[in-house]
Amino acid sequence: MEHIIKNGFVYDPLNEVDGEKMDICIKDGKIVDSVSADANVIDATGKIVMPGGVDPHAHVAGAKVNVGRMYRPEDSKKDVEAAATGGRAGSGFSVPSTFMTGQRYAQMGYTTVMEAAMPPLLARHTHEEFHDTPIIDHAAFPLFGNNWFVMEYLKEGDVDGCAAYASWLLKATKGYTIKIVNPGGTEAWAWGGNVHGIHDPSPYFDIEAAEIIKGLAQVNEMLGLPHPIHLHCNDLGHPGNYETTLASFDVPKGIKVNAKTGSRDAVLYATHVQFHSYGGTSWRDVVSEAPTIANYVNKNDHIVMDIGQVTLDETTTMTADGPMEFDLHSLNGLKWANCDVELETGSGVVPFIYAARAPVPALQWAVGMELFLLTEDAKKVCLTTDSPNAGPFTRYPRVISWLMSNRARTDLMEGELHKWAQRKSSIATIDREYSFLEIAQVTRATPAKVLGLSDTKGHLGAGADADVAIYNFNPEIQNPSADYRALEAAFQHASLVLKDGIPVVKEGVVVNPTLRGRTYWVDTMLDETVYNEVVADVEKQFKQFYSVNFANYPVQDSYLPHSTPVKGVIQ
């Protein structure tokens, strides 16, 4: 099947196309240079054309996501949807059911989404949910930062052993990257504690966050993984935490990029940095330190970050940062779910109401905006809400409108937003507005590149997957800054979305809800001898300390009907 998308304003940063009117040709699910005269013509006159959106960090599938759904019927009830033709019904505002999740991403023109936290022991659950999540390509990030084997190997200085273990775990869980959450802190939480800063050793294992981050960053590059270490720093959400954040950013600096797939420049991916950019010593004297963080990012090239923008909604927080969620529950008194996972990790879930009229959420909103607007190069920034932590992914269009319209921000600040936003941050003094090219950068190009997927994702050059989003907004006659509501509406319901060349959304309505996306995972093997020794050792430990048998642990191939391995180092 051939298509030609004619006359749209194309924004494709990876190919340096900035709003030019040009045709996009598609053949057999791929972007090509030209098509025959028989190609189906799609008229995009007066519309914006972008590559399919790429979300590098969201919580959409797996154990804690499902706890978020199960224990909040009040959230499900708030937002229900009947089935699209041929599709399935669903419910959930902040944590939509799987069918709704895939469909709502597609409606916004997103075609690739990363599940940001997968407890290895529960990996099968994440993959089962992927199976029921339509349209979007996806991958999951297994958690490494509090894993006993990782901590033991690194403590002993055995980076080779740790690398072998990591490659085994990626294979066994069909995972995509090395995810680190509150390194050492979640293990401490298994005893009811936490660690503070990067030099506070974890109980028993006696290893500092700095050592875990550094060791895993080395492992990441030894294995040639497509994505750098994906770090959720220590001290999330604590006033004064920006110092920990800066110190953490410095840890992997100097390590050389060695990605076997893709073309990333960073050795560190820092996630939801908004939650890590606070000054002061308490919630009374808290201030924004976003300018300091943005300044660091401006001066350093080894890092890419996503923001975790607060959207001012009632939502459901969920993270592998177990102690943080208990603190949050103690603070807001809302119901607390938790799941500690043997030898590996933990997690917590707590509802949260980011009321615009409340001081702290207003400041958090401002911190996120400052990070977006003070980081000069959009090549270092990804747009996220750490969905659903700072707000649900369905609010991305609103975040886009805030970024492109100083008027939108001012209207909010002059309106119901609590004055802390202006008083404790510099947001009111910033008038920068993102261009469409920069929006395409932070929602497509940057995430695709830093994920190591930019051969096929995040751009519209020949060879890319034919994932294309067309939006009903005419940059020649409409002004996004003035007409920010129309902008938000256009990005909420795309005019047309193609996934691998197949129409999945037309005029905002899902038309192909039975389509299923690829599951990316990383296949890597550094040294077979070390690998075999390590696996034998892991098997021995399993017998004693795990509650499942070694043979029943790896995710069977049958769970990945659209398995798409991505290569790291293979020797």
Partner: protein, 434 residues
Amino acid sequence: MELVKNVVCPFCGTLCDDIICKVENDEIVGTINACRIGHSKFVHAEGAMRWKKPQIRDENGELVETTYDDAIEKAAQVLAASKRPLMYGWSCTECEAQAVGVDLAEQTKAIVDNTASVCHGPSVLALQDVGYPICTFGEVKNRADVVVYWGCNPMHAHPRHLSRHVFARGFFRERGRSDRTLIVVDPRESDSSKLADIHLQVGYNQDYELLDAMRAAMMGHEILYDEVAGIPREEIMEAVEALKNAQFGILFFGMGITHSRGKHRNIDTAIMMVQDLNNFAKFTLIPMRGHYNVTGFNQVATWESGYPYCIDFATGIPRYNPGETGANDVLQNKETDAMMVIASDPGAHFPQKSLRRMAEIPVIAIEPHRTPTTELADIILPPAIVGMETDGTAYRMEGVPIRMRKVVDSDLLSDREILQRLLKRVMEIKTASK
């Protein structure tokens, strides 16, 4: 004789995955590691009669053997014609079959409900009220120094639960049982309470009072009575101190507390007690789920619809209102006009009033054995047994997903295949009648 290792036991929510099956001539003749109830499931020792062919009840009320094609056709006709079908059970089958089931329910605008409705339903309501702080079994084995079983008798209902997680040695509990304080709360003397260091013999239906007193004491208030819920103040204080001083504590709770007076309010309070305890100690909980994959259905239904059980698709969108949309509600209110039962035995466990309605309406049973439910059924579709004759996913009581293995062959269709064929046929009938 062949030994098949790492087999997962399809009986209780402990979901032991270390079973070795002895197989001879494609038949399981023995097991290693299984407890007696797991063993008897594997070797079909329960004496239950197994359906070898689908059955349809004739006009004289006699069951007549038939083909899958015929039985599925008749079942599909029943479901397509029903105005308010009920699809109930699901707890002894695997997740893919459950997923097809939720789809079938949605397409037929049915009510879909699982056995949680009559066992840990109150726990679900409670976790929706106040939260759900849990951990996986390995955490208990490796860390727990205080273990509480409340309202359950694992030695009988989950025979290997204690040996695998409490008696076993763990990383930080090298001596196993002797490194742990075991507390059992149960009105009865049981084989489990005999093993306990502290047995709180709570009065019948007085769990709430006891929990409340314990929480008050934890928060530093004095217990004003000499005795609460039949237990002397000193004993309560001793237990409270043990809980507060835990390094890692775990509360396992069962039907004895979910179904005593107060129901989900008991669990509300129990969960809040665990949350309170986290201000002193590390403390978590795990509900003692009975059927091996009751948890799996709650997971599947939740990710597909947003709700764990009692889901009503009548209006084309999922609705959830336990008390109105539960299996017993729609049976007793005579709302439902056709019922499909799968992987459970309401015939043996539902109240009389519900059974009376079941006797009035067409009942389809997807069930391997002759049971009280099949006595009421008009159409019986026997499946291959998951975990022995076919594979699939199950979720352990605390949510760890494990792949059930196929050990021997069977001529019978799996639950999944039966449901897929039913779904296909129902859709055809519905499209044709449009």
